[in-house]
């Protein structure tokens, strides 16, 4: 009996690997575990499926059977009656005819390229701020963008915005020069004073001179009244977002300051602004401000609104960031002190990076809220998308249309807000340095 003789009950070669039973893998397994794991869940699943079916059966034909080409709601109905024998379909023709108004307001049609260019530049200048892989040199574009935006959107020659930018540059130089004497407060005051003198007294006459000598880069001027639609929401939203973060940081630091006056001012500002609804501030900006200004002064309405929206959201931002500061262990502050860092260095290198990271969800929350709040400008006579939807429906041709406009507007806002939300989640994951 040789040892090589195989035993009858021992296999010589391995069986091929079998696929797992159908019931244990893939969709079947997933469905059984998640949808039909008991009689109660099975019932729930079936009910949900039925509801989803009902909703889709009602809405999909409405959405996809819609009419795209018509001059009025009445014509839409005629076309639907011919095609389907009923009028239970969307009349997208209103979007087809008025989409440009919904997006650009009453901006002159020949100048749309300016708005588009400003939008593309906005995305480009946001890129280096949002993503650290983008070349750092793009930050120069970011710094120039606010001035480019004003020039592109409102028009005129480039000298006006250049003068404003020059004022900032002068302020910066003054800051550096005075900074040598070592007093932060003194150099800040000097910077503001120099810039103000330029803006108020020297700048305007220089601009006037340059305009008459060399009207460089002259674009057709567009009045604030003609801005509207999605464009005004983006302009107000982006300005508010960009300005409220730094102001909010300063306010949050001020609130924690040991200096009595600074602290009182910051607390007073935050509590006052948070105690007043945004719509009240907007009414103040649009209607009541005229009582306090000398008659004849014109103060651009969009600018007034941007200022009010910024003040409003920076108060909220301050509290969000204060939450981040409060969440930092005391050891971090003490470590900064132990390293011999002064106040500003400690904030910049140790405290703020951590506090801001903690506050990301809150910050983005405030941003999204601010962006959606921009539709409130409808109440002070600026035609944002919601205001335009009313105006469009007041036109005899489209009187009676409803869902189509709001679905479009809702869709546009959803895309923007969802993008912000996804970005913040990505940023949180990227910045996670703890070991959980």
């Amino acid at each position: 009996m040789s040892t090589t003789k195989s035993l009858a009950y021992v296999r010589k070669e391995m069986l091929d690997q079998q696929p797992a039973p159908r019931s244990q893998v893939g969709f079947t397994r997933w469905a059984r575990d998640n949808l039909f794991s008991g009689w109660f869940n099975t019932v729930l699943t079936l009910v949900s499926l039925f509801v989803i079916y009902k909703v889709l059966a009602a809405t999909l034909p409405w959405i996809f059977g819609g009419v795209w080409n018509a001059d009025s709601l009445a014509q839409c109905r005629v076309i639907m009656n011919e095609a389907y024998g009923n009028t239970h379909h969307a009349c997208w023709a209103v979007i087809h005819e008025r989409w440009n108004q919904l997006l650009y307001g009453f901006y002159p049609e020949t100048q749309y390229w300016r708005a588009n260019l400003a939008f593309v530049l906005m995305l480009a200048s946001l890129a280096p701020v949002l993503f650290d892989k983008v070349p750092r040199k793009m930050l120069y574009l970011t710094m120039a963008f606010p001035f480019l935006l004003v020039w592109l959107v409102w028009g005129g020659t480039i000298w006006g915005v250049t003068s404003v930018a020059f004022g900032f540059a002068l302020g910066g130089i003054a800051f550096k020069l005075v900074d040598r004497f070592g007093s932060m407060a003194l150099s800040a005051i000097a910077a503001v004073a120099v810039a103000a003198v330029w803006w108020l007294f020297i700048g305007p006459s220089v601009v006037e001179g340059l305009n008459s000598v060399a009207p460089l880069g002259h674009l057709e001027e567009v009045q604030s009244r003609d801005l509207g639609g999605f464009m005004i929401c983006v302009i107000i939203g982006i300005s508010g977002i960009a300005l409220s973060l730094p102001i909010g940081i300063v306010l949050a630091l001020g609130r924690q300051s040991d200096l009595f006056i600074v602290k009182t001012i910051c607390v007073g500002f935050i509590e006052f602004i948070r105690g007043v609804p945004l719509i009240t501030l907007l009414f103040t900006a649009s209607l009541l401000l005229n009582y306090f200004l000398p008659p004849g002064t014109t103060f651009d309405l969009t600018l007034r609104v941007i200022i009010m929206v910024t003040l409003f959201s920076s108060a909220y931002m301050a509290e969000v960031i204060r939450g981040g500061l409060a969440a930092l262990p005391k050891g971090q502050y003490e470590a900064a002190d132990a390293l011999g860092l002064d106040y500003w260095k400690a904030q910049r290198l140790i405290i703020m990076p951590q506090a801001l990271k903690i506050s990301i969800p809150g910050i983005v929350n405030t941003f999204i809220g601010l962006f959606k709040d921009t539709t409130l400008v409808m109440f002070i006579g600026i035609y944002d998308m919601l205001g335009l939807s009313n105006a469009i429906r007041a036109n005899a041709a489209w009187n009676g249309i409803y869902w189509e406009l709001f679905i479009f507007i809702g869709g546009v806002f959803w895309i923007c807000c969802f993008a912000m939300s996804r970005y913040s989640q990505w940023l949180e994951r990227k910045l996670r340095t703890d070991h959980r």
Partner: protein, 341 residues
């Protein structure tokens, strides 16, 4: 020392503001310097004011703004329209955010006296009515006890409604809405049994419904709603300009002056009244501080009252209103302009 410097600066600032105020008190001068008229309009009422597809405001009320601009600048397009909700219109006018309102506003005692406005005339005589679905089986407003009513906030219709139901010992449940279009949508969606507003707006609204036959406008008209343009107190010359711009449109219709024949008639006619209106005789324009061709500009660019009516809200438009009370006094209506003399 420092305190006194500060106080001195404050005083100076106050004085500067004061003198600026004194210099600029004339609305006409301010408007001329600005180059555009700021006119407060309804953000959207079919036929009366709404932006069209190209963003240009059109409508019966808008034509009053255009007339004033034509009188001042000779250019009916020199208007900056500020859409205002009912709730903020008077504040906007009082604060100087707009120069005038042409925003289907009812002329009432308290708005004229207490809110310190000057109503310069009436461009549309309206009255409040009710619309109900036919299925409700109601044929008179007296049967509306217990109904839910869609009503625009901050309007006279809101107050009239309360008065009417109280006088007739009926209960109702208000459903407040912000704008005309909102009210219409709520009504169609069945959020309220009754929709009440000015009869003109009811007619316009019903005309746009998918099946107008399913709805009836009840016969009762429960209020007087004289709608007209207004300015704020304190500048009578400005009020005169707006008043006579409207009157010029009305008088032109009475005398048969239209946008088509005005230029021809301005060469001189037998009728001295027409001659004075069109600036051929007399110095009416100069008295207002305007060009003598002010009324001619209005009529050639905007048209007379009847033309504006027919173009925006007349029977051949979707709004489809009959002249009714708004016919000339010679035709049995209430539209009447004082003489141009």
């Amino acid at each position: 020392m420092k305190k006194s410097v500060f106080l001195g600066a404050l005083t100076l600032a106050g004085l500067a503001a004061g003198t600026a105020m004194a210099q600029d008190s004339s609305t006409l001068a301010a408007v001329k310097e600005r180059g555009v008229l700021k006119c407060g309009v309804n953000p959207g009422t079919p036929g009366f004011a709404a932006p069209d597809a190209s963003g240009k405001f059109v409508g019966f009320d808008v034509d009053v703004c255009r007339a004033v601009a034509a009188a001042i600048f000779g250019d009916s397009e020199a208007v900056e329209y500020t859409p205002l909700t009912s709730a903020v219109r008077f504040t906007a006018l009082a604060s100087g955010e707009v120069d005038m309102l042409a925003r289907n506003t009812t002329w009432t005692f308290s708005r004229d006296v207490d809110l310190k406005n000057t109503f310069v005339g009436v461009n549309y005589y309206d009255g409040q009515g009710f619309m109900v679905p036919k299925d409700l089986g109601v044929s008179s407003a007296k049967e509306l006890g217990g109904a839910t009513v869609c009503i625009e906030t901050g309007t006279t219709t809101e107050l009239n409604l309360a008065d009417y139901f109280r006088v007739n010992n009926m209960e109702y449940e208000p459903v407040p809405v912000e704008s005309f279009t909102e009210a219409q949508t709520q009504f169609l969606a069945g959020a309220c049994d009754v929709y009440t507003t000015d009869a003109s707006a009811l007619a316009a609204s019903r005309a746009s419904f998918e099946n107008p036959e399913g709805y009836v406008v009840l016969p009762e008209i429960i209020s007087k709603e004289p709608l007209g343009p207004l300015v704020r107190h304190g500048d009578d010359n400005w009020g005169d300009i707006v008043r006579w711009s409207l009157n010029a449109m009305i008088a032109a219709e009475e005398y048969g002056v239209t946008s088509a024949n005005a230029t021809e008639l301005a060469k001189g006619t037998e009728n001295p009244e027409i001659n004075r209106l069109l600036g051929v005789e007399g110095e009416l324009g100069a008295m207002l501080g305007l060009d003598n061709a002010w009324a001619l500009n209005i009529i050639t660019q905007v048209g007379n009252y009847g033309e504006s009516f027919e173009k925006n809200i007349g029977e051949n438009t979707p709004v489809g209103l009959a002249r009714g009370l708004n016919a000339q006094w010679t035709e049995g209506g209430l539209i009447y302009s004082p003489p141009f003399r």
